[in-house]
Amino acid sequence: MTRVEKSETAGVSAEPVIAPTPSRSRYIVVGGVTLFLALLPLAKPLIGQPYNYVLQLGTVGLMWIAMTSSWNLIGGFTGYISLGHNVFFGIGGYTSGLLLLYFGLSPLLTFPVAGVVAVVFGFLVGLVTLRTRGPAFIISTIALLLMVGLVFDNWEFVGGSNGLSLPLPPFSLETVKVPFYYAMLVIAVGSVYLGYRVAHSKFGLALRAIAQDETKAEVAGIDTRRMKVAAFSISAFFVGAAGAVWGYSLTYLRPTIFFTIAIAAEMVLMAIIGGRGTVAGPVVGAILLVALNEISVSQFGSTELNIVVTGGIMLAVLLFFPLGIIGTLRERGRLPGFLDWD
């Protein structure tokens, strides 16, 4: 908890320097939660009636954890905010959807392929967009999102704005949610683990250096361009994979499902609430917002006001807790050990 030392350099005091002494409690907690999530679908008699609802909610929560953790690699660690990351979500969804339609391969098996396609696409895009810094980069990601959305809206091969219908998954109604749940669990655990590994690697260190001062990082001998493009394309993998599973669980693909900026907004918001650039932050943020959304939809129904709430929370967090939950707690030295995954 108190392993945090304030950096002495002026201007970067918001970025704590972390000494590598892990606390044991976090392994127990993280392992326990993962085990619990893995065993959850087996507890059908215990859950009873709302079984499918619980699994659906779990799938959604895990999806957001995966997406936000992946976004965090570029948006958090590297400090390059992408407002078009759901492009990879859609590309993953369509890749696996097309593989299912043309080759009969289940997206539950091909989601890694979808992830790889997203990575390749991210690499090519990153080569261009990461030539810029700061605001210009963010703008280019918005332009990318609208451009890709426009292409999918008008591309006959992928069904245009009507989208594609996928064959129904070959599972009984009783257990239909289970495979999707497990696939998302694998993706979510993978993305959080990836975030952890990156945070503890030389690569992660380079990314943080870029976030703090790119020019200095460059002077220090970091190949910033390569690091940035690597971070951007790697961060596409689990977003694409999540898109593949999500699209199949809906059994239809439509541009409006994937390419609306609201999805990017959620990713950004979850990461900010939890704490950008931390491993645990995106997970905490995703769980909080999914829970909040579930409550507000069940209480007030789904209205246009949801997006007002999203925007309002974003403003409030930015103005009052720009470091997010994990970041603020750590700054004050109050972060419980089990939440300190960095």
Partner: protein, 292 residues
């Protein structure tokens, strides 16, 4: 050849309006380094103001300018004062402004769709469907009037920036914020004014846009993406760059939409953005970026 000239004219007329919309955005960036993602949604909000003044008291959309311009100026002052001084010292100011205005855009969009629903609307003054014929050339009145109005407003902005003391101060702040402060410019006050003017431009654009294109709350994303592409193309913060970029690309977009259909027109802006980033990351008229 006539067809070629025709398409070019239509593009140029629209380009004038694009230039007006982009000018406010680029001014905000130039003076305060604020990337205002909410610019588009405020333009759409102004469209609704114009729309209700049109269907209610029956005001001509051009007459609504006398409401939208001052109201949005004040709104801009209010928005600037309530949010931006708080984050002024933050280490990653540029990034903060993007996120902050992103949140703001979501709020305004949500409120607009709550009150006005998601249906397409537009004002339809009588001249919206009329045109002037010069020989074989067909010049739609709506676009022509809107373009002339934009030109007048842009000239007024230019006059303000180059021939008034406040204008000098604004330009000085654009060039070097710290130095401006040293020579006695009240940077906070200038920033507030500049933000207000930027928003007034958004308000004016809304009045004009209300009869040029159908609008609905969510449509602001398409506009902001186009406008942001324009200002990156022109070199962030360069007013001249934004205006030239707007005219140039609007003409190209007109040809694209002539060849491939209007749905593909926006791709011109995004495609051009990526092309320019590939060749010249700092934009056509930009200096080497020093924002991080």
């Amino acid at each position: 050849v006539t067809h070629f000239v025709q398409v070019a004219i239509l593009g140029l007329l629209l380009g004038g309006v694009y230039a007006l919309m982009a000018s406010g955005l680029t001014l905000m960036f130039g003076v305060m380094r604020i990337v205002n993602l909410a610019h588009g949604v405020f333009i759409i909000a102004a469209c609704y103001v114009a729309y209700y003044l049109f269907i209610g008291p029956g005001w001509d959309p051009f007459l609504t300018l006398i409401v939208t311009v001052p109201v949005f100026f004040l709104l801009g002052v209010l928005v600037y004062r309530s949010f931006f001084p708080r984050i002024e010292g933050s280490a990653r100011f540029g990034e903060m402004t993007v996120l902050l205005t992103f949140g703001l855009a979501l709020i305004v969009e949500g409120l607009l769709s709550f009150f006005f629903t998601g249906t397409f609307r537009s004002t339809n003054p009588p001249y919206a469907t009329e045109a002037i014929l010069i020989g074989d050339l067909f010049i739609p009145k709506a676009q022509l009037y809107a373009s002339i109005t934009s030109l007048v407003l842009l000239i007024a902005l230019w006059g303000f920036l180059y021939f008034t003391r406040t204008g000098y101060a604004v330009r000085a702040t654009m060039q070097n914020r710290t130095a401006a402060q040293i020579v006695g410019v009240n940077v906070r006050r200038i920033s507030t004014i500049a933000f207000g003017i930027g928003m007034a431009m958004a308000g004016a654009s809304g009045s004009l846009l209300s009869f040029l294109f159908p609008f609905f709350p969510n449509s602001h994303w398409r506009w902001i993406a186009i406008l942001l592409s324009l200002i990156v193309l022109g070199g962030l913060g360069s007013l001249k760059g934004a205006i030239i970029g707007a005219l140039f690309l609007a003409v190209i977009a007109a040809f694209v939409s002539d060849l491939l259909g209007p749905t593909w027109a926006p791709i011109t802006f995004f495609g051009a953005l990526f092309l320019v980033l590939l060749i010249r990351p700092q934009g056509l008229f930009g200096k080497e970026a020093r924002v991080g």
